[in-house]
Amino acid sequence: MQRLKDVLRRIPPGNREEANPGRTDGDERGEGSGASPELRTDGGEQADGPRGSSELRSDGGATVTGDSAEPAETETRTGGSFLSSDFVKSMPFWLPPFLLMGFFVYGAIGWNLVISLTDFEGLLLPEYKISAFDLEMYRRAFSDPSFWTAAQNTLVLLVAFTTICLVFGLLLAILVDQEIRFENTFRIIYLLPMSLSFVVTAKFWAWMYNPEIGMINVTLRQLGLDFLALQWISNPDTKLAAVIFALIWQFSGYAMVVYLAGLRAIPTAHYEAAKVDGASTLKMYWRVILPQLRASTMSAAVVLMVFALKAFDFLYVMFGNNPGPAADILATLMFREAFGSNNWAYGSAIAIVLFGMALAVVAPYLYSEYRRGEL
């Protein structure tokens, strides 16, 4: 089976970068003009019209370089070898989406970085005085106790939520993978909360956790377990844990889906081999299966951390603009500073710290994907 990529690679009989990776554009042009006469002869022998000849050529000789300078080719290739290079040919496809995304993602981050170096507070636009650019806002953040509280909570949220979701998700996946009946139904129910918005889940859990009339405490009291009926989301000791628990409810199904795909990719022979060797079920999963789920763990962990960083919506709906020190995370602090108090520059600086945290997680992940040839 040939891959689409290999087939399409040969469709436009353009330059083969990989055939001669060291070439520059100038070389291509030179080679192109030199190569075209023999190619034309080649085409003439086939007497098949330019289309046919080009295919046969690309079929037979992917190593032929510079055939793009062939004048009898299609309109797109008349502009010389740079204009007909694969780079240019692919441009109409990726350039418009890239410009749009690049402007909003990378342009905006750059702009945010610039704002964080100013002392912009509430005009329409900051005055970008180059001389005034400094790290004042970052100094302010690092000497602000509420910044450190928020940073600490963010870290706790990230680590606790991601770890528990992964472990719980793996257990779910193993349970669902036992050739059970109605597997689809179970899987769909476990994943269901993920289709809901943070706003909706925050509404549900705000009610669940309500100390007086919330479902959890009412149920506990009816079971005679009054001592367990706590002030879940108003008590600083349980606040963050309560948030993390609700987020696990919402996203553990995601970890399950990823692990389930990973488990299904492991050949049954590996399970059988472990059993033949007399390994207990626990040992089999720990020693044989888990190591093979490394890629699943990595990718699920990265995505779960992204969800955790987006937990802003949940906190905003549950606690309003200020969740209080016990559950304040960098995202809520940033929003409060920038959009609550018009401290745009300070908010931008906090946002850059948050971006740095995300980068610290994602860059190694993307690099490892690149090394594995997944990019």
Partner: protein, 313 residues
């Protein structure tokens, strides 16, 4: 080399016993397995089930009944739903006006970008692919201030009123267009990743045939790859629709304070009070109203949704 089935020696007897014991064990284990699975079903559905029950109770019934049981002996009402629908119907329309174009646009742009960067190779394309994919992991906080500044300067209403005619181009639509553009831009990375994975795994027979017919890269995309992309479009559209529908943050930042008349359901739900303080029955009804479309999509296309979220890896 199996022994004859009915040989009457004692060893066979014990063997049958052993088999029966194993079956019993397995039955026990199976029962435990299903018990755990059902307990988990309860864990995931309890908040939803209790919420649904609550949404059908009067405030009085809500205060005196068990949360996850229906209101036996009176107290059943549709009123919370009526209040929620009345307060959120405009927002439901806004969300549809927003989510449908943003979903279709980002899926289309993701698809063409993935085609261009999967099928046509050049030297540094990996770097570009990495830039596309890294966009998925950007914490939105890092772009909020610039976004709010951008839309404070760029007046979409004025810009587009030339094209559209002043009476039609109300601020309401201009705000929604701003949101559509933003969601489209931030949706491209994930749709790109999903389509890229799909195009890398696509096989080739028809494309080979088109190639022999002398089709260009453009006509191959239009006539072959695009029709082949239907299943992936289903996945991306479902995923993206859910994302846009569920967003709160961009709406908070881009729309005028409080969302104005262009507020999507997430904002409407957040500010839904139902009149009385802590009127959880209205809140729960409102939560279901806001979740209705994504729940519907999920129930109808659960399989594709699962594929979509797993493809995000």
């Amino acid at each position: 080399m199996s022994s004859p089935p009915a040989s009457p020696n004692p060893e066979d007897h014990t063997r049958r016993e052993r088999v029966e014991q194993t079956v019993r064990d397995t039955d026990g284990r199976r029962a435990a397995l299903y018990a755990v699975l059902l307990a988990l079903v309860a864990f995931y559905l309890a908040p939803l089930e209790a919420g649904l029950m609550t949404a059908f109770k009067t405030t009085d019934a809500f205060n005196r009944t068990v949360p996850f049981l229906p209101p036996f002996g009176g107290g059943f009402t549709f009123e919370p739903w009526e209040v929620a629908f009345a307060e959120m119907s405009n927002a439901l329309i806004n969300s549809l006006l927003l989510a449908i174009p943003a979903t279709v646009l980002s899926a289309t742009l993701g698809s063409i970008a993935a085609y261009g960067l999967t099928t046509i190779d050049w030297k540094y394309q990996t770097a570009l692919v990495a830039l596309f994919i890294a966009g998925i992991f950007i914490p939105y906080q890092a772009v909020l201030v610039p976004l709010s500044r951008l839309y404070a300067i760029v007046n979409t209403q004025e810009l587009l009123s030339f094209l559209w005619g002043l009476p039609l181009m109300r601020e309401h639509y201009a705000s929604i267009i701003n949101l559509i553009i933003t969601h489209t831009a931030y949706g491209i990375p994930i749709t790109f990743l999903l389509f890229r994975g799909y195009y890398q795994s696509l096989s080739d027979e028809m494309i080979e045939a088109a190639r022999l017919d002398g089709a260009s890269v453009y006509s191959i995309y239009r006539n072959i790859v695009l029709p082949l992309s239907k299943p992936m479009f289903a996945v991306t559209l479902i995923y993206q629709f859910t994302q846009v529908w569920n967003d709160l943050l961009f709406a908070l930042v881009i729309l005028p304070s409080g969302g104005g008349s262009a507020a999507p359901v997430t904002i409407a739900l957040n500010s839904l009070t139902g009149g009385i303080v802590e009127s959880f029955n209205t809140q729960m009804a409102g939560a279901f109203v806001a979740a209705l479309p994504t729940l519907l999509v999920y129930v109808l296309f659960g399989e594709q949704f699962a594929k979509g979220v797993a493809g995000e890896t």
